[in-house]
Assembly symmetry: C2
Homo-oligomer: 341 residues x 2
């Protein structure tokens, strides 16, 4: 048939520990004919998220099956509908959904795909950051799972990251005290000066993390929004207040572990403080995204939410950009711009 060729990034090898560039490959594929109910999407932006690391592992205990070797890398994109065999989508619609690291994706138009409301007048890339799964993770994770009450203390790990920085700001919008944990002076300064956190804890600075948390949360932690897991979770568990909630959003500290994962030593503290630890995956909330989009859009408009995007141009740069997530060198939500491809 001819037509455009689909450049795509594939998984060449399962990473051992932190991924390397050699774990990725690039290929060119035909774009298949559309079957019944399918739509052809031209991907415009690709979101790079820590969770993708989990899908690169062989384990079966994930909420998504592993990406097969030599198959296209999985990721959330913003895309334009170019062809449609599905009455729910028109050519020219913009959608956000779970697709691939590729120029063209074929979608069934079901499950994890949302039409982007055109009336909001915001940049398309925002639908992968503050108005995408990142923003919805922060919004529903904090509000629906954590259930903050004005005056409470909310501690956030990976607080300078895409999700964490939003969690802190949403906490402030709810009248809470927001305390962030980040690595390095620069990030900690940004937490306070740019995102408006009440306090920032530099986990790379000398000193005991638990003592730092305790000093910055003198009344204990009411909500710990955990993006990290590992030792940081253990330290936070030792500082919980009565009835505390731990929102378990991610575990980037353990994504690269190949050993049997060992959980926190201090779970006992949940019992001592009548506290709970609750796991959370944003896909559960797809049906309520419009509610989150509206509220986050309002806060964005009123300046009550600030955010940063680091947009890297070109599909070929996706693997290298992805690695930044694991050394913390990205400056905001990492997005690949595929529009010029």
């Amino acid at each position: 048939m001819g037509g455009p060729v689909n450049r795509r990034v594939i998984l060449k090898a399962r990473p051992i520990g932190i991924p390397r560039l050699s774990d990725f490959g690039e290929e060119r594929a035909e774009i298949p004919e559309l079957g019944d109910g399918q739509v052809l999407l031209r991907n415009i932006y690709l979101s790079l998220d820590p969770a993708i690391r989990g899908w690169m592992s062989p384990q079966e205990d994930s909420y998504q099956p592993p990406i097969p070797i030599d198959e296209v890398m999985r990721g959330v994109t913003v895309a334009r509908v170019e062809k449609t065999n599905n009455a729910d989508f028109q050519v020219g619609d913009h959608v956000m959904g779970l697709n691939g690291w590729e120029q063209w994706s074929v979608s069934e138009g079901r499950g994890f795909i949302n039409r982007i409301p055109s009336e909001m007048g915001l940049p398309m890339s925002n639908f992968l950051s503050v108005l995408g799964t990142t923003g919805m993770t922060a919004y529903f994770g904090l509000l629906d799972v954590g259930k903050p009450v004005s005056g409470e203390t909310v501690l956030v790990s990976a607080a300078a990251g895409a999700v964490g920085s939003l969690v802190g700001q949403i906490a402030k919008n709810q009248g809470c005290r927001a305390v962030g944990i980040a690595g390095g002076k620069e990030k900690c300064k940004r937490l306070i000066d740019f995102y408006g956190f009440d306090a920032a804890i530099d986990y790379k600075a000398p000193g005991d993390l638990e003592e730092k948390i305790s000093a910055n949360c003198p009344n204990g932690i009411d909500i710990y929004f955990d993006n990290v897991g590992g030792d940081m979770l253990d330290a936070a568990l030792n500082c919980l207040s009565e009835g505390a909630r731990v929102v378990m959003c991610g575990a980037i500290a353990t994504y690269n572990d190949d050993q049997r994962r060992l959980g926190p030593s201090n779970l006992w503290q949940l019992l001592v403080h009548n506290a709970r630890l609750e796991g959370f995956i944003v896909s559960k909330y797809i049906g309520r995204f419009s509610e989150g989009l509206e509220k986050m859009g309002q806060w964005l408009g009123s300046g009550q939410i600030k955010h940063r995007e680091e947009i890297v141009v070109g599909l070929e740069n996706a693997p290298g950009a992805f690695l930044k997530l694991f050394d913390g060198s990205n400056n905001g939500k990492l997005i690949i711009d595929l529009s010029g491809a």
Copy 2:
């Protein structure tokens, strides 16, 4: 002044691992004069519970301070008020509260002490078992923390134990499927024949525990009432259904650990299944005990709750009886009868 002498069991040494008889001592003490607001209690029954092991350890991360060396062992008793400087209590009242392994206790009459309703016409020992903290732990832990819905599957560890056997029966009373884990054929038979569980899993029998759980919970676990912690929690985490609740009631598997406790490897499953793990201490519910007493009393009357008490006579036998909790050789809720002392 003279008066009666107070025989008491004291903590001689902090146990290393499983407690030994040599960790306990006995002494005779004077009964002090009562101060303002105090009551003098003659202990009738003493409850022996796994949680006491936690109070024997030096760690500060417990919900009760450690029992000091050479001080009286702590425990819940049923007692009669013999003298009172407190207008809330009359001589002859029967109470249940946190006192000591001793014949006489002096209490402030505050906090963890409840007057026993005389109109229920049930044996006093029941107020340390099915109508005591044991029963209230099962009642509020399952109903208030676990929130069972008819048709759900409730898995209980240490199911032949004092708390676990009640949890299974309350689950059945709520229309749930009750699956119990216990050690040995005899206990498993008792779960089904006496307590009415739907299925029993013998963790001492050959075979993989996770596979056994999976086979007995074909639709997954909706509520795991965890009395044990450790590897059993890990196995259960791998069998959770969507939106599952883990009620973390005790961690007898780790009470005797002197190593740094390592938590469950599979906490990730909470995230995968939007599930939560919630800690729980019964003392939080003291204000609602009357509600639990009434309902449990009704079930007891109608035969919808069966229970067993193993009553050991004599304070001097308390240390030896306590050790049974750790090899599983007790047959029902362990209670020491102090009335003849």
